[in-house]
Amino acid sequence: MLWLALRFPSLPLETFTRGVAHPGPLAVASSPGAHAGIVACNSRARGHGVRPGMPVAAASALATDLRILTRDPAAERAALEHIAAGAIQFSPTVSIAPGTGVLPEVLLEIGGSLKIFGGLTRLWKRIEQELESQGYTFSLACAPTPLAAQFFARAGLPVRIQHGDALRAGIAQLSVDVLGLPSGSDTLLADIGVCTIGACLKLPRAGLARRMGQELLATLDRALGHIPDPLPAFVPPAGFAATLQLPAPVEEAGALLFAFRRLLADLCGFLAAAGKGAQRLHFRLAHEDRDDTCFELNLATATRDTEHLVTVLRERLERLALPSPATAIALKALLLMPLAARNLALLPDAREQAETIVRLIERLRARLGENAVHGLDTVADHRPEYAWRIDASIGQNREPGTSDRGAWLPLSRPLWVLHAPRPLADVDGKPQQDGPLALIAGPELIESGWWDNNDIAREYFVARNPAQSLLWIYRECRAGGGWYLHGYFS
């Protein structure tokens, strides 16, 4: 067994700041009101002299532009659950263990995953990249028991201990602070001159148990692997919905995209763990004094590629008119489809090309609108207007070669047809366009369509105008008559 502990020391702060690239001075207070204490503050607030533990009133006096937000334990818990859900892509055994203070830690059993990810170093790097893209600061530590991994992570030591002997030597040097003892016990240990876990382990067990309680001994034994330490497994939710509070209202599309990128990274981690892809996403932007702005993204195929989703969203955000700045954003996956991971090919293959065209289409549609991009197909019908159709499902499920149905038509059809036939002037029964037209081929009588009440009866001709252009014109055979221009032989 090999356990990896992920600790997020700045989580109370980062639930607010990870959606912003360059946050201003910011501090998080334990509760609303001037008497509450500061729990965490960012580096800019630290520059003004603000420190955790300070009362809110003192902190506001130090920095006038300091934003003080109230800690949101529910958002922290949700953030940890999203991290844990994403971590399932690296290990099937994930759990959220209580940490020191009130900060929980995420634990992964990675002993079984080393081989598939190509060793501990690579896996470590993958997990680091994943957490960085989600916008968290973190400390990782790896040890044979979950509790020991937690201890090292709390001490901020990125150790990779894989064997029991090294564990005993390493853990002996840690301060007793990492044990997370109740406040009475740690002063008692300090009073008798015990500062490290090593010193603690040297004390006689019976005396230690009598003075400090059985709990400390049990903790040390679990950390060293002398007694088992079963953990409740984390069960990921079936769907994905996440919210991100913004520390200050945001209006600019680029800043919104930065914030959404965080949520999309969360989403893609969740999808990778679940072996799924998202096809429909629902975005919501909350405003201070108005109704929320909502929009959806419909993708042609399910995906879990953060960069692709960000590109599509960028185009969509550019078209979005915000009534007022957004104070919070939310993302929900509406349609999840199974999406298997696939092997990488040495050379780009047909499937990869199909994927690229789908991405291009999605990007174009995100900016130009759903209906602005489409394909063409032929329909077996004699009526010129009904012999083609718009193909909205372009780029998908159509194997090359299925649309050769129009090949029976001779070259007597023009490449351009007009959106609606245009009436031509008629002088002595001869059609005119920039002068009299010479009929050079025809007539081709098309009389069809009695079954759907759009029947036509027309005599089509190929005509040449004095400027030498070839036109496709027809004479209406029904009541009214007259000549019409229908297309150009361009």
């Binding site: 174009l364 004699h382 070259l411 351009w416 079954w451 032989f489």
Partner: protein, 229 residues
């Protein structure tokens, strides 16, 4: 001695004034031998901007590119049409051999959106050619398209009305007009050579001959059969 000189002159980097340099330009054959010999790479230049100035609709400018379009789509590459002025008639495209499943139509609301769409398609590396119809395009945008075409290795064919003819960064500029029922193609600008004499192509020659009753697709007629007497 002279054979040694010939070897030197064969080198693609050596350009001799007076003839079209035989530079190796990646290109797509137009399908018209008379036209191919006039073009530096022997076809539509891939990875470059080509302007086709059209005198008026109906002179055969689309038929000029149909053989190349058929060839590209049949080999599985994509063709994108941006802002076409009329409806591209699917049966006629199919009859010219274009594979419709490899054809994408983009109808932008504004010219800016259209230019953006062209650039995206060119850079995507999945479109072999982008055909676009614009009236007025700022020179800066033309340069952008030229760069996008270079980076994506795709042919950008831009159809423009004849009255627009200021200087342009296009690698190839053609003028298409009609003369005595033949399509007259004039090269206005090409890389590596002076302007050659115009070439007349008989594009419509076969079209009228085909106007006859065509084999129908056998529409399913739901009329009841008459009783045989």
């Amino acid at each position: 001695m002279s054979s040694a000189l010939d070897t030197v002159l064969q080198h693609p980097a050596v350009w001799r004034g007076g003839d079209c340099a035989r530079v190796v330009v990646p290109s797509v054959p137009t399908g018209f031998a008379e036209l191919d010999v006039l073009l530096p790479g022997g076809g539509w230049p891939a990875g470059a901007l080509t302007e086709i100035h059209v005198e008026r609709a109906g002179v055969g400018e689309l038929q000029l590119i149909m053989p190349a379009a058929a060839h590209l789509t049949r080999s599985g590459r994509w063709l994108t049409l941006v802002a076409p002025p009329h409806v591209p008639y699917a049966p006629a495209f199919a009859a010219h051999g274009v594979m419709l499943s490899r054809l994408m139509l983009v109808r932008p609301a504004t010219a800016d959106d259209g230019l953006w769409a062209c650039e995206q398609a060119l850079r995507s590396q999945v479109c072999a050619a982008v055909l676009a119809w614009f009236d007025h395009v700022p020179e800066r945008s033309l340069r952008r398209l030229q760069l996008a075409a270079e980076s994506g290795g795709a042919a950008m064919l831009m159809f423009r009305p004849t009255r627009v003819a200021p200087a342009s960064p296009a690698a190839l500029r053609l003028h298409v007009a009609k003369a005595q029922s033949r399509t007259l193609v004039r090269v206005l600008k090409r890389r590596g050579g002076e302007v050659p004499a115009p070439v007349a192509l008989d594009l419509h020659g076969m079209a009228p001959a085909h106007v006859r009753a065509s084999p129908p697709p056998a529409p399913c007629r739901a009329r009841p059969l008459e009783a045989v007497s």
